[in-house]
């Protein structure tokens, strides 16, 4: 057998190790396995490639994917990623560590998670954040379960029809098997209807989830929501875009108990949907029901400031089936990604991102309407994403734009098309996109 770069064993090493064990061969180490389970066939896998061949194989494959200018959001936003981030997150002391079980040699991980929790609390206005979760939709699904777990013997959670479709899908999947009853709150003028919410509250009500900025891109007004939800003894959960939270009213200001969302807009590349990072934060009184890991500050034996995984009595490895969640990891490296991004941007940078998004998306919105090929749908404030009603076939529109190098005009379930313009989209790109529509569609 020729040597392989990831296996350091020489023939002599193997021989000496087997001798120590008292085994005649490597196969003897599987003497406890019924022999008909030992796979004797040839694995249907490619032959081993050299590193150069692997690189070239992926480079060629990458060329097969058209590189488009992204004018769609719907839960994944093409914000700018500063070069510092991947430089930091590639440091192998962060990258190749496990969950920080041995805190004495994991202070790096524990400190940045503490910083991440602090950032999420600042953005949402909440008291406590966990150490992060898989993605926004799963964080939303966990928050729905938290509503039910906090209420006694109540199983209905109301979810706004204006949440992003992929969030709704995951919420419904989790709810189905946990036995949670999901009732969808209707919308009015593109926003969650307060009257609809009130009408849907019954004896089984445990909580409600509403989006801060919704799937139409609209910044929702949640005046009166918390009062209605709390009067019925339910928990209020807000699904948020954390980038937008630098400028729009926070879940805490609206009176929510729990804030969830996806950290992707904070500098994480699109990467075909993952890895991203879910965040979840709550008020102090919900702390013991919060799923996921939490890092806390303490001191070591010598009085030095130290950080540890804390409040673990909530977790699966101690509570097993009585745990608040089955989650045993977080998306630590992506939490670092977000932490470095927010550190670079600061409050002014985040506000600037929103200012540019607002400027570009409104420019796009006006230019599209001026073509006469779209109708206005809603008259409500938006930040970077919006929908229009196309006055022609939406499929042809999307196809023509794609051919011209744009991913834009994504059809929604309501018959609209969705657009998004982040700070990465230049005025020139927007003009070029509009030109395609002017010249080449209906």
């Amino acid at each position: 057998m020729a040597s392989f770069q990831y296996f350091p064993h020489t023939g002599e090493d193997v021989k000496q190790m087997l001798e120590r064990i008292g085994a005649g061969s490597l196969d003897d180490l599987y003497s406890d396995v019924p022999q008909d389970f030992i796979y004797k066939g040839e694995y249907d896998l490619p032959l081993a490639k050299t590193e150069q061949e692997v690189r070239e194989w992926f480079e060629k494959l990458a060329e097969d994917n058209p590189r488009l200018k992204v004018f769609v959001g719907q839960g994944a936003y093409d914000h700018y990623t500063p070069s510092v981030i991947s430089y930091i997150t590639s440091r192998s002391e962060f990258l190749t560590a496990y969950t920080p079980y041995q805190c004495e040699i994991s202070q790096g991980t524990l400190r940045y998670i503490f910083e991440y929790q602090s950032i999420i609390c600042e953005l949402t206005g909440m008291d406590v954040s966990n150490a992060s979760m898989y993605d926004g939709p799963t964080a939303a699904a966990e928050a729905v379960r938290m509503c039910v777990a906090s209420a006694r013997k109540k199983h209905t959670v109301l979810v706004s029809s204006t949440v992003l479709p992929h969030v709704m899908k995951v919420i419904k999947t989790y709810a189905k098997y946990y036995g949670t009853n999901i009732v969808v709150i209707p919308s009015e003028n593109g926003q969650t209807s307060l009257e609809g919410l009130k009408a849907a509250i019954d004896d089984d009500f445990a909580g409600a989830l509403v989006p801060s900025v919704n799937r139409f891109g609209i910044i929702e007004n949640h005046e009166g929501f918390a009062d209605a939800i709390h009067a019925a003894k339910g928990m209020m959960v807000e699904y948020c875009d954390p980038s937008a939270l630098a400028v729009v009213k926070t879940p805490a200001e609206w009176g929510a108990d729990v804030a969830v969302g996806d950290g992707q807009p904070l500098g994480i590349p699109l990467c075909y949907g993952g890895p991203y990072v879910g965040f979840m934060a709550c008020r102090n009184d919900c702390l013991r029901k919060l799923p996921g890991r939490i890092v806390g500050q303490t001191v070591d034996k010598d009085g030095k400031r130290a950080f540890v995984l804390t409040l673990q009595a909530r977790e699966q490895h101690i509570r097993r089936e009585k745990a608040t969640s089955n989650i045993c990891s977080n998306e630590s490296l992506m939490a670092l990604w977000v932490t470095v991004y927010v550190s670079l941007m600061g409050p002014d940078g985040l506000a600037r991102v929103n200012d540019i998004c607002y400027e570009r998306s409104h420019y796009l919105y006006e230019r599209l309407l001026a073509t006469g090929k779209f109708e206005k749908v809603f008259d409500a404030p938006f930040l970077k994403e919006f929908v229009l009603k196309p006055l022609g076939p939406a499929d042809a529109l999307r196809a023509k734009l794609e051919k011209a190098g744009f991913f834009a005009a994504l059809p929604t379930e309501d018959g609209f098309v969705s657009f998004c313009a982040t700070e990465k989209r230049s005025i020139e790109e927007i003009d070029a996109l509009v030109k395609v529509i002017e010249e080449d569609w209906v």
Partner: protein, 467 residues
């Protein structure tokens, strides 16, 4: 490692910034929708950020720093070509809702086919983002299978007492009631204990094979037969797949559903606790159901899947047959080299990992309190090793679970063995040296009780406490 005591917030100075963006007019957001005041986030320059995180990284231990024998976590070497591929802009710039992406579809298909070949399953879903997420997804598939057959009575799932803590937790989140089956004196599922638990209310069983003691469940064929006969399905927790990589396929053992941890068996980095990827494989009759269960936002952690497929291409058909065997060789080598100084409750051949139950001589005969597994773990840090998994599985009071993986050289293992023997000798003569360990790390043992009693979980609270 040197101690560095700053938080990024503490470097903040009003007026500094680390961003580079064009100017734009302030967005005219209506006052009723605008946040009251700007968030109190750090205001730091680019160099502040780079130095701060570089300093933090130097208080961290990773696989690239040294040997990481953390049981059940498969801390194998993370190849660097994986990282290069995952960072290719042609992949990172693709929006998840783009449909015309043949290059990406080809990777998913090739990955599906490869994992099917390796495990003997029919088809994989890649949506789960971690091992526990895969367990939950697999159990949802199990429940959906019964529901679609109109069999609503199967609401209980059997979980061995040696199972990973996530197993019962995942089952509970999936709305299943847990029935525990005991281990026998050999550390294996007791078939006689299992039989009376089976019935028309059983959705299935969750098993790890080899189990958390690193032992192969040799009666799996009979267990599979019994569970199938009662109408249940078998779930394979793939956290311990590494010793079987290239040797045994879970599908051949009778498992219907399984998850893999790409961040364990397929060499993708753990990232300090994620992102991982926990694809779930199913047998043919469950293929459609697997695609219908939406457990995450888009297509799973594509960046992790890319890394894992890179590993499979490097490994290839030739080398895969040695991966599991070398992992098993390493574990047995350490076990046999230390069993005279650490208690080995189960003597048989192990797979990728094994469990000691504390020291043979903990030093209590010196009149001092004996050195515990925690003490041994902490002393290992002084010698530049990561500690094994401790106090798991729960079957032993002083469990010390060691998993060396196939990427460690004999020299590294020998060095670890020497240190473990040194620590055993230290324990026997001076247990206080271990009680007070670690001595050479950035911090000494922390006050965990204080952390839990007065939770300080964000910078704003940290400030109040320090003042």
């Amino acid at each position: 490692m040197k101690y560095y005591d700053k938080l990024i917030f503490e470097l903040s100075k009003s007026g500094r910034s680390g961003f580079s963006l064009p100017q734009a007019p302030t967005a005219p957001i209506p006052a009723s929708l605008k946040r009251g005041s700007a968030p109190a986030l750090p205001q730091v320059s680019e160099v502040d950020v780079v130095r701060h995180y570089t300093n933090l990284s130097q208080m961290n231990f990773g696989v690239d720093t040294g040997f990481y024998p953390l049981g059940s976590c498969t801390m194998k070497y993370n190849p660097k070509i994986n990282e290069e591929v995952a960072a290719m802009p042609a992949f990172t710039a693709i929006h998840p809702l783009q449909e015309n992406v043949p290059g990406i579809r080809e990777i998913y298909e090739a990955m599906d086919k490869s994992l099917a070949a390796i495990t003997g399953m029919k088809h994989f879903t890649f949506k789960p983002c971690a091992g526990a997420h895969g367990e939950l997804t697999g159990l949802m598939i199990m429940r959906e299978y019964h529901l679609r057959r109109g069999d609503f009575a199967r609401t209980r799932v059997i979980v061995p007492d040696s199972a990973h803590g996530t197993n019962p937790a995942s089952a509970a989140v999936c709305g299943l009631e847990i029935v525990e089956v005991k281990s026998n004196e050999h550390g294996l599922v007791d078939v006689n204990d299992l039989k009376p638990l089976l019935g028309p209310d059983i959705a299935g069983i969750m098993m790890t094979n080899p189990n958390t003691l690193g032992l192969f469940e040799g009666e799996i064929k009979e267990i599979a037969q019994l569970v199938h006969d009662c109408g249940g399905l078998l779930y394979y927790d793939g956290a311990n797949m590494n010793p079987l990589l290239g040797v045994v396929r879970p599908g051949d053992m009778g498992f219907d559903i399984m998850h893999l941890n790409l961040h364990k068996t397929f060499s993708t980095p753990h990232g300090g606790g994620g992102p991982g990827s926990g694809p779930v494989g199913v047998c043919e009759k469950l293929s459609d159901i697997a695609d219908d269960v939406f457990v995450s936002g888009f297509h799973g952690n594509f960046g992790v899947i890319l890394r894992a497929y890179t590993y499979i291409l490097m490994l290839g058909r030739e080398n895969i047959k040695l991966a599991g065997k070398y992992a098993t060789l390493s574990a047995n080598y350490i076990k046999e080299s230390l069993k005279d100084v650490y208690k080995l409750p189960i003597q048989t051949v192990c797979k990728h990992e094994f469990v000691f139950d504390g020291l043979v001589d903990d030093g209590s005969s010196t009149g001092k309190s004996g050195a515990t597994t925690l003490d041994v773990a902490k002393r290992l840090l002084d010698y530049g090793f990561h500690a094994p998994t401790i106090y798991f599985p729960l079957l032993f009071h002083q469990a010390l679970m060691i998993e060396p993986t196939e990427t460690e050289s004999k020299e590294t293992l020998d060095c670890f063995i020497d240190v473990m023997r040194t620590i055993a000798a230290e324990a026997a003569s001076d247990p206080d040296l271990l009680h007070n360990a670690p001595h050479n790390t950035p911090i000494s043992r922390p006050d965990e009780t204080r952390a839990a009693r007065q939770p300080v979980v964000k910078f704003a609270d940290s400030k109040q406490l320090l003042n």
